[in-house]
Amino acid sequence: MNLAEKILAAHAGKERVSPGEFISARVDVVLANDITAPIAIREFWKLGLEKVFDPKKIVLVPDHFVPNKDIQSAEQAKILREFARAQGVNFFECGQMGIEHVILHEKGLVMPGDLVIGADSHTCTYGALGAFATGMGSTDVASAMATGDIWMKVPPTIKFVYKGRLPKHVGGKDLILYTIGKIGVDGALYAAMEFGGEVIEKLSMEGRFTMANMAIEAGAKAGLFYADKKVVAYAKGRGKRQPVVFEPDADAKYEAVHEYDVSGIEPQVALPHLPSNVKPVSQVGRVYIDQVVIGSCTNGRFEDLQVAANILNKKKVNSNVRCIIIPGSQQVYMDALRSGYIEVFIEAGCAVSTPTCGPCLGGHMGILAAGEKCLATTNRNFIGRMGSPKSEVYLAGPAVAAASAIAGKIVSPGDLAT
């Protein structure tokens, strides 16, 4: 069995599972946010229960419209607060919070080997830990909050093997954009993506979280990494539970195997309006930008801010650009502060925000007007994603984002005059 099959079989109490098989699986973590939880809670009450199956396994994180941007979003968040307090579930908001897919593993709530479902499509992020994590809707989450299990169809798995050595300024974001550019936004539809190879073995945890995060942008059900020593050390330092490491069998079956030698690739940029519309940065052409956003569940971690700060150090953001930096969690914010990066950002002329999903989905803190262009480290560049349907979002990693903020147009860090 491959990695996805092993984790699912263990949670379904079966010796083996095969692609296409319907299973009922026990869940370790159930997640929802300020957009999806109000509907999940409404549906939960329809079941006639008073209590969730296990409050320790449920996590509610208001992060999309917080700090509450208007009365309506405040009313939505209030539904979560009241439910969370009454039920005693895990609950994190302003001041002790962050973006859900940055804090769950940071706080040790997800461990290797877990089965995680979340009412947010980027729940697949936790695949970096060797967990099977997948996004679902509010009604699925309502049912799982009641029963502790979930129905699932075992997906086929597509394996991705990365060979060679990563060039300078190329990271996890570039690898996943490159991959989505190759296979398309439905290239892994209904399938699990399993990532491996010598490049992945050397890749940081941050880089792996970024890659797993965007598996959904290829239509995948999950993006999975084998929990190697680096993963186990990361998880053990944070979690209260023991990690469970599943390893794919040597004769595991895959629907397809893609091998990429990435030694010569450049930083990648996804052009409007699909994450698969990817080009190497040198082929993007002259694109002047009005805004840069560095943050989100894709690239709002410490390493991302470190990469950006090293490029922005002693430089100034172009006077035509609004550069918004959003640490993904209070911990990331504090670490960046102690490392001097927040000072670097403010001296360069960036706006630094408290953790929030904010602009990524056109919520608040950086909405685009008609005709404006933004280069963002976020995960989606659909029409209207960050504001006006007549605006444009380009996706890249933090290195290209920081360099472009200085240049005022999309450039590679290597193109900046030193």
Binding site: M136, G219, L361, G363, G384, G387
Partner: protein, 175 residues
């Protein structure tokens, strides 16, 4: 039997197009329906009539897990969506809330905006009344039919909780 006129769209109609995130600070279905499709088709809300059917090509509903997307479509009066293929989370959400989805590349190919369709969900047939042609949709897996027959996932789960001996009662008492 479902019957209505067709609104036709292309590939990769994403959940931000179906209901932009800026409206997700509410969850009332009819409020959401007021903004359905607006970033790619400002006229949809004006044109949509009860029973209407959305027809699209590949990967319909890609992107977010927001259940608000199928909810907005259903509250717009749309009776079904037909596509070559659907994004996974959207497919699941639609089944869970009782919005019928049909996969039929042939029907998509032969259908134009404004055509009148008649759908028989039990038989899995799509009848294009304008063109005088009938198509078959892929059958739902048995497991999913159970959820559809129960009237959605919540009803299905409620039945399950009743059947687990003392399940619901036990969960309540444990509180």
């Amino acid at each position: 039997m479902l019957k209505g006129r067709v609104h036709k769209y292309g590939a990769n109609v994403d959940t931000d197009a179906i209901i932009p995130a800026r409206y997700l600070n509410v969850s009332d279905p009819y409020e959401l329906a007021r903004h359905c499709m607006e970033d790619i088709d400002l006229d949809f809300v004006k044109k949509a009539k009860p029973g209407d059917i959305i027809v699209a090509t590949t990967n319909f509903g890609c992107g977010s897990s927001r259940e608000h997307a199928p909810i907005a479509i259903k509250a717009s009066g749309v009776s079904a969506v037909i596509a070559r293929s659907f994004a996974r989370i959207f497919f699941r959400n639609a089944i869970n809330i009782g919005l019928p989805l049909l996969e039929s590349p042939e029907a998509v190919e032969a259908t134009d905006a404004g055509d009148e369709l008649e759908i028989n969900l039990d038989a899995g047939t799509i009848n294009n009344l304008t063109k005088g042609k009938t198509f078959h949709a892929a059958a739902y897996p048995e497991f999913m039919s159970g959820i559809i027959k129960a009237g959605g996932l919540i009803e299905y789960t409620r039945e399950r909780l009743k059947n687990i001996s003392g399940g619901a009662a036990k969960t309540t008492k444990a509180a």
